[in-house]
C-alpha cells in the first residue's frame, strides 16, 4: 500500500503530458488535486494505523505481485508523508487559479508530481543510497519548476540552485561511498550495524561533516543557504510554497535527521555543531530578512531562519527538543506555505513584489490580508497560534539541556522575527492604500480557498496542539528517540 505514495504521482506524471493534449486545463487540474487528496486521505486513514506498534517494513506490490522493494514507515516518515500530502494538496488547489497565465499546466503538474513522488520515496526508503536517488529526483524536478517562468531571474536562480545542489549531492555520495566501502552495505541497518561493530569514530566524523554539508545545503543552513534566497522567490508562488514548505525539510532536515539520529547516533560533537549551525542560521536569516524589500525574498530568508529553529530543536537530541523541532517543522510547513501563497496572490493582483509599492492592500484584498496576518503571527510565535507552542517547546528543551545561552539567543531571534513580520504586514496590507491599487480585486476563489484552509489549520493546530502533538508528532519523536535501535532492528529484513 505504501508503494502507492510513489507510484501514483509518478504514473500520473507520466500520463499528464499525454492527457494535456486532450484537455489543457481541466483534466490536469482535476487529476493532480484528486491524486493529492487521495494521498492525504490515505495518510490519515490508511497509513496511520500501520505504525500503531512502532515502525514497520512493508513490501511493495505491483498488482498483488510482490516486488523486491521494501518500504520503511515509522512515526517520523509518517509525519513527513502527512506534511507533504497536506501542503501539496493545498498547493495543487492553489495552482488551479495561479498557474493559468504560465501556460503548459500539464507539464507543470507533471513536474510537481514527480517532485512529490521523489519526496515520498525519500521518506519511505530505508537505504542511504536510495535516499540519494530520490533526493535527486525531487531536486531535478524542482530545478525545472524554479525556472518554469523562464524569465532571466528564474533561470539564473535555477542555475545557481542546480550548481550548488550538484556539489551537495557529490558530498553526500562521497560519504555514502566511504560508508559503503567500510561497512559493506548502504541500508540503514547494515550501516548502523557495521559502524557499531567497527568503531571508527574519525571516519564517522568525516562522513558526518560531508553529510552535514550535503543535506545542510538542501536544508539551507547557513553557510550553505546561498541558493535559497534566489530560488524560492523566483519560482511560481505555489512552488515557492512547496520548496520552502516541504522540499527543504524532506531533502534536508529529514535526510539529515534520519542519518544522524537513526544511523550514526547523535554524539555530543554533532549536537554542538547542529545547535550552533541552527542558531547561526536563525540570526543570519532573520537579519537578512529585515533589510528586504521584495516580499518573497523576505519570506525566503525567513525560511532560513526558521529552519535554524528546527535544526536547533532536533540537534539538542533530548526527547523534548526533538519533539519541539519536529513540531516546528510541521508548523513551518503550514505557515510558510501560507505566506508564500499570499505573496503569490498579492503579486498576481498587483504585479509587484516590492513592499515599497504596496500598502493598504487589506482594503481591497481582505481574505489575503487576514490569512497573512494569521501566518505572520504564527511564524513570529504569538500565542496561542501554532508557532508559539513549537518555539516554546524548543526553548524549554534548551533550558532543560542547560544550554541557556542558546535559549536566550533563540528568544532574541524570535523577537527579530516579530520585528520584520510586523514590517511586512504594515507595508503590504495596512496603512494608506496606494492609489494604483484602487481597482485591485481579491484573489480568485481557488487561491483564496487554499490560503484560508492553511490559515484555519494554523489556528486549529495552535488551539488543539496537544491533540496534534499526540497524534502525529509524538510517534515521530518516539521513533527518533530510539536512535540507532530502529535501524538495527530492521537488519533482519
Amino acid at each position: 500500500m505504501l508503494f502507492l505514495y510513489i507510484i501514483v504521482p509518478l504514473l500520473l506524471a507520466g500520463l499528464l503530458p499525454l492527457l494535456g493534449k486532450l484537455s489543457k486545463r481541466l483534466l490536469p487540474d482535476l487529476l493532480a488535486s484528486a491524486a493529492m487528496l487521495f494521498l492525504l486521505v490515505l495518510t490519515v486513514i490508511g497509513a496511520r494505523p500501520l505504525i500503531s506498534g512502532g515502525g514497520v517494513i512493508q513490501q511493495a506490490t505491483w498488482f498483488q505481485a510482490p516486488l523486491n522493494i521494501r518500504l520503511l514507515l515509522d512515526g517520523f516518515s509518517l509525519l513527513m508523508l502527512f506534511t507533504i500530502a497536506l501542503v501539496s494538496f493545498v498547493v495543487c488547489v492553489y495552482s488551479i487559479g495561479y498557474m493559468e497565465h504560465y501556460g503548459a499546466k500539464a507539464n507543470y503538474y507533471a513536474l510537481l508530481l514527480v517532485m512529490i513522488a521523489g519526496m515520498n520515496g525519500l521518506v519511505l526508503s530505508g537505504d542511504l543510497f536510495t535516499i540519494y536517488v530520490f533526493l535527486e529526483m525531487a531536486a531535478v524536478a524542482s530545478y525545472a519548476l524554479v525556472a518554469f517562468g523562464r524569465g532571466p531571474d528564474e533561470l539564473e536562480a535555477a542555475f545557481k540552485y542546480l550548481m550548488l545542489s550538484a556539489v551537495a549531492s557529490a558530498f553526500v555520495l562521497l560519504s555514502i561511498a566511504v560508508l559503503f566501502a567500510v561497512t559493506g552495505g548502504v541500508g540503514f541497518g547494515a550501516v548502523a550495524q557495521g559502524l557499531k561493530t567497527l568503531n571508527v569514530r574519525t571516519l564517522v566524523g568525516i562522513c558526518s561533516a560531508l553529510f552535514l554539508a550535503g543535506f545542510g545545503l538542501k536544508a539551507a543552513l547557513v553557510p550553505f543557504h546561498s541558493w535559497l534566497p534566489d530560488a524560492h522567490p523566483s519560482a511560481p508562488a505555489p512552488i515557492s510554497a512547496m520548496l520552502s514548505g516541504v522540499l527543504i525539510k524532506v531533502s534536508g532536515v529529514y535526510a539529515m535527521t534520519r542519518v544522524f539520529l537513526g544511523v550514526f547516533g547523535l554524539t555530543p560533537a554533532l549536537t554542538t555543531v547542529l545547535t550552533v549551525l541552527g542558531v547561526v542560521s536563525i540570526f543570519v536569516g532573520a537579519l537578512a530578512a529585515i533589510g528586504q524589500n521584495d516580499i518573497k525574498r523576505m519570506l525566503a530568508y525567513s525560511s532560513i531562519s526558521q529552519i535554524g529553529y528546527v535544526v536547533l530543536g532536533i540537534g539538542i537530541g533530548t526527547p523534548l527538543g526533538i519533539l519541539g523541532g519536529l513540531f516546528h517543522l510541521f508548523n513551518h510547513a503550514l505557515f510558510k506555505s501560507l505566506l508564500f501563497l499570499n505573496a503569490g496572490a498579492v503579486e498576481q493582483s498587483t504585479g509587484t513584489r516590492s513592499l515599497d509599492k504596496m500598502g493598504g492592500l487589506a482594503k481591497v484584498m481582505p481574505v489575503t490580508a487576514v490569512t497573512s496576518v494569521v501566518g505572520s503571527l504564527s511564524i513570529a510565535g504569538v500565542p496561542p497560534l501554532n508557532g508559539f507552542w513549537s518555539k516554546l517547546l524548543i526553548i524549554i528543551a534548551l533550558v532543560q539541556a542547560k544550554m541557556l545561552t542558546l535559549a536566550v539567543l533563540a528568544v532574541l531571534g524570535s523577537v527579530i522575527t516579530l520585528w520584520y513580520y510586523l514590517v511586512l504586514q504594515h507595508q503590504a496590507f495596512f496603512g494608506k492604500l496606494n492609489e494604483a491599487w484602487k481597482s485591485v480585486r481579491e484573489a480568485p476563489f481557488w487561491m483564496s480557498a487554499a490560503t484560508v484552509v492553511l490559515a484555519l489549520l494554523c489556528v486549529a493546530v495552535g488551539l488543539a496542539f496537544p491533540f496534534v502533538v499526540g497524534t502525529w508528532l509524538q510517534p515521530a519523536a518516539d521513533a527518533l528517540g530510539q536512535g540507532v535501535n530502529v535501524a538495527l532492528n530492521f537488519i533482519g529484513f
Binding site: 535527486e136 525545472a144 523562464r150 524569465g151 567497527l198 571516519l203
Partner: protein, 163 residues
C-alpha cells in the same frame, strides 16, 4: 596498469577543465570517461564500465557538443590567465594533503567483508529494485524539465522589469 589509468583519468580531467576551447574540453572529458571505463573494467565492474563508456563518454558528450553548438558565437568567455597558472599550485597542494590523509587511513580502517551472491542482474533486480524506480523517476524528471524549458507557449519574463 591501474595507477597509469588513474593518472590518465585525472590528467584528462584537468585538461578538460583548463582547455580554452569548449569543444576540446568536452572531448578530453570524453577521453577521461574512457579511462574511467577502462578502470572499471580492470576492477571487474564490467557493466558499470560499459555504462560509463556508452552513457558518459557517449551520450553526455553528445549533449555537451549540442549545447556548445547551440550557444556558439557568443560563448567565448575570456577565462583569466591566473586560473591556469594557479591550477598547478592548487593541484600540488591538494595532492599533498590527499596523500597525507590517505597515508593515515592506510591500514587503519577496518572493514566488513562483503557477502554478496549471484550475478549482476540478479543483484540489481533483487536488491536495488527501489533504485530502479528512482531511476525511472529521475529520467522522467529530466525529460519533463527539458520539455518545460523548451516549451513554445506561455513563459513570461516576470523578472524583466525587476532590476
Amino acid at each position: 596498469m591501474h595507477l597509469f589509468l588513474l593518472i590518465g583519468l585525472v590528467a584528462f580531467s584537468a585538461v578538460a577543465i583548463l582547455c580554452r576551447e569548449l569543444l576540446k574540453s568536452a572531448i578530453s572529458l570524453a577521453v577521461a570517461s574512457i579511462f574511467l571505463a577502462l578502470l572499471l573494467f580492470e576492477m571487474g565492474a564490467v557493466y558499470a564500465g560499459v555504462f560509463e563508456l556508452s552513457v558518459v563518454a557517449g551520450l553526455i558528450t553528445v549533449l555537451f557538443i549540442t549545447a556548445i553548438a547551440l550557444t556558439r558565437g557568443d560563448g567565448d568567455v575570456a577565462e583569466g590567465r591566473a586560473q591556469r597558472w594557479v591550477f598547478p599550485l592548487f593541484f600540488l597542494a591538494l595532492a599533498v594533503v590527499d596523500v597525507l590523509v590517505m597515508r593515515r587511513l592506510l591500514g587503519r580502517i577496518p572493514a566488513i567483508q562483503g557477502s554478496e551472491s549471484g550475478g549482476f542482474s540478479q543483484v540489481l533486480w533483487n536488491q536495488r529494485t527501489f533504485d530502479l524506480v528512482g531511476q525511472v523517476g529521475v529520467i522522467s524528471a529530466g525529460v519533463l524539465a527539458v520539455l518545460a524549458l523548451f516549451r513554445r507557449e506561455g513563459g513570461h519574463g516576470k523578472g524583466e522589469g525587476h532590476e
